[in-house]
């Protein structure tokens, strides 16, 4: 069922790590958000990126899919240095990535079916009838059969997320990225999304990267977890290793201990008085 994609220089039998980060640094208007991140993600692995608000985890995800440019360091995806290759090569790799955005990011002027069909129409030469079948298949996979002709505005929050996953799956990606998959959903719907991620992992052996701060969901789906705090990797390990970690920041995050009030206020004041903080504010707000 894999659509016929031109594999411009992309090796199908790539055996190394799917993603490698080498001393990755990202700054917004002079203010460094990520301070030298290093880790690898293996094929078929589900990695959960944990972190509080403003920790830089969303920026990390955006850098992984190429929406932000690193100021230094490297992002290697399937053995290619993502920031050093040509636009054409980057697009070829992007066709093998799927991304499910926090709010779904479905195109409001198109139906759910058209949303899912879009990458297929843009990147493959499939017949319209084949595309239609593919769309039905993808919607079936996420439990949305029969919703082809609905507009995104007619769907509930959880259905929008599912439709977004269907669109991310359209090109049969090798790596699937999720930005806060359960944000804003009630526990039952959120559990359904977790279930969907587990099913995708089992059925397609996909490499999955999930950014979240929902602990229950993280422990359910993760093979390994990485905890980001203020732009640094604090801890990296399996769910078990994380549970047993003695690192104070990990303990604080997992045991849900609030920040001491004084420290928090000092931090806040420091943020306000830092010279470049004003210009960085807009971007921070956006990256959520």
């Amino acid at each position: 069922m894999a659509p016929s994609v031109d594999n411009l220089g992309v090796d199908d039998s790539f055996g190394g790590p799917m993603i490698s980060l080498r001393d990755l640094r990202v700054s917004y208007s002079g203010r460094e958000i990520l301070h030298g991140i290093n880790f690898d993600v293996q094929r078929g692995e589900t990695l959960v990126i944990l972190g509080g608000s403003g920790s830089g985890k969303s920026t990390l995800l955006r850098t992984l899919v190429g929406l932000e440019k690193p100021t230094s360091g490297e992002v290697w995806i399937r053995g290619k240095n993502f920031s050093a290759i040509s636009e054409v090569e980057r697009d070829e790799i992007r066709k093998r990535l799927g991304m499910s955005f926090q709010g779904g990011a479905l195109f409001g002027s198109m139906t759910v079916g058209e949303n899912v069909a879009l990458p297929l129409e843009e990147h493959t030469k499939l017949e319209p009838t084949t595309v239609e079948i593919m769309v039905r298949l993808k919607l079936d996979q996420v439990g949305l059969s029969g919703f082809e002709d609905f507009l995104p505005s007619q769907l509930s929050g959880g259905m929008k997320k599912r439709a977004a996953v269907a669109r991310a799956l359209a090109m049969d990606p090798e790596i699937l990225f999720f930005d806060e998959p359960s944000a804003g959903l009630d526990p039952i719907i959120a559990a359904g999304i977790d279930q969907l991620i587990l099913e995708l992992k089992k059925a397609f052996h996909m490499t999955i990267i999930v950014v979240t701060h929902e602990l229950a969901s993280a422990f359910l789906i993760a093979d390994r977890m990485v905890l980001i705090n203020k732009g640094d990797v604090v801890a990296l390990g399996t769910a078990e290793e994380m549970k047993n970690s003695k690192h104070p920041r990990v303990r604080q995050f997992l045991d849900r201990i609030p920040e001491p009030a004084v420290a928090q206020e000092l931090d806040y004041l420091q943020m306000l008085t830092e010279p470049s903080s004003k210009s960085g504010e807009g971007r921070q707000g956006k990256s959520r």
């Binding site: 190429g66 980057r90 992007r94 709010g103 409001g108 956006k286």
Partner: protein
């Protein structure tokens, strides 16, 4: 000293803005004129629906306004001309000012209000709801997918709308001509056409083409530059309208001067 520093940085800002406008228009032009020959087909269906929205649906309001403008022009011209007993020159006065200046300009202003603002709002909303990011992660170029169809629609529709506006303006003027200046309808139309040279119409159309490029570039750039939330979309839309009107008048000035000095020879 600080004063000059401020002037310097605002000039720098303006040049940077014009630079990004030119770059966006250039990329849109690339996807329109060169892309199709390099295996990146133009999204014809999207261009057609944009042309319907920006062009065809604009006709009723454009007709009404330019009809009134033509009538106003006739009244204003006759006010002065009748002192010299030259009321019959009303036809040529209206025809010339419509085709050379007001036809293209009024059309541009109406299109800015209808479509320039809509472009900024549409792209701004898509930007803040991460739809533009989604396109990029799907390896779909947002300029090719969103801007180029609008660009095609505008550079085709604006000259067409301008021709229609010219015609409606002359029609508006004819009401005065027939009722107050002893013209018959057909004699008024013939007098208008006699006053016009091809050059007048062509220069107006060249301007309207440039207006189309300007309006699309400003509307789309403001939309794509939106950051933050819904409130910012509103701000982008306002900026798009104000900047478009300003730049359209600036482009108008430049081209009118150009035609003036070229016409000397």
């Amino acid at each position: 000293m600080e004063f000059f520093g401020k002037i310097g940085s605002s000039v720098e800002g303006s040049l940077a803005y014009v630079g990004s406008l030119t770059s966006l228009a250039g990329r849109a032009a690339y996807f329109t004129f060169i892309g199709p020959f390099q295996g990146q087909p133009l999204r014809f269906q999207r261009a057609v629906s944009q042309a319907m929205e920006a062009g065809v649906r604009c006709i009723p309001i454009l007709s009404l306004i330019t009809f009134f403008i033509g009538l106003i022009l006739a009244l204003q011209a006759a006010y002065e001309l009748r002192r010299f007993g030259a009321v019959s020159f009303v036809a040529s006065a209206v025809a010339l000012s419509m085709t050379r200046e007001l036809g293209p300009l009024i059309t541009a202003v109406i299109v800015i209000g209808r479509s320039g603002s809509a472009f900024a709002a549409e792209l701004g909303t898509m930007k803040v709801s991460e739809e533009i990011d989604a396109l990029e992660t799907m390896a779909i170029n947002p300029v090719s997918f969103l801007v180029a169809p609008k660009f095609v629609a505008m550079i085709l529709m604006l000259p067409c709308l301008t021709i229609w506006a010219n015609f409606m303006g002359i029609l508006g003027g004819s009401v005065f001509g027939v009722l107050q200046a002893d013209f018959t309808f057909w004699r008024y139309i013939i007098a208008s056409l006699d006053a016009l040279f091809m050059r007048d119409v062509i220069t107006g159309l060249i301007k309207s083409f440039m207006f189309g490029v300007t309006i699309t570039a400003v509307g789309c750039l403001e939309g794509l530059n939106t950051t933050g939330g819904a409130e910012q979309v509103g701000r982008s839309t306002t900026r798009a309208v104000v900047m478009s009107i300003f730049l359209v008048i600036l482009v108008d000035l430049v081209f009118t001067m150009l035609f003036y000095f070229l016409g000397e020879h």
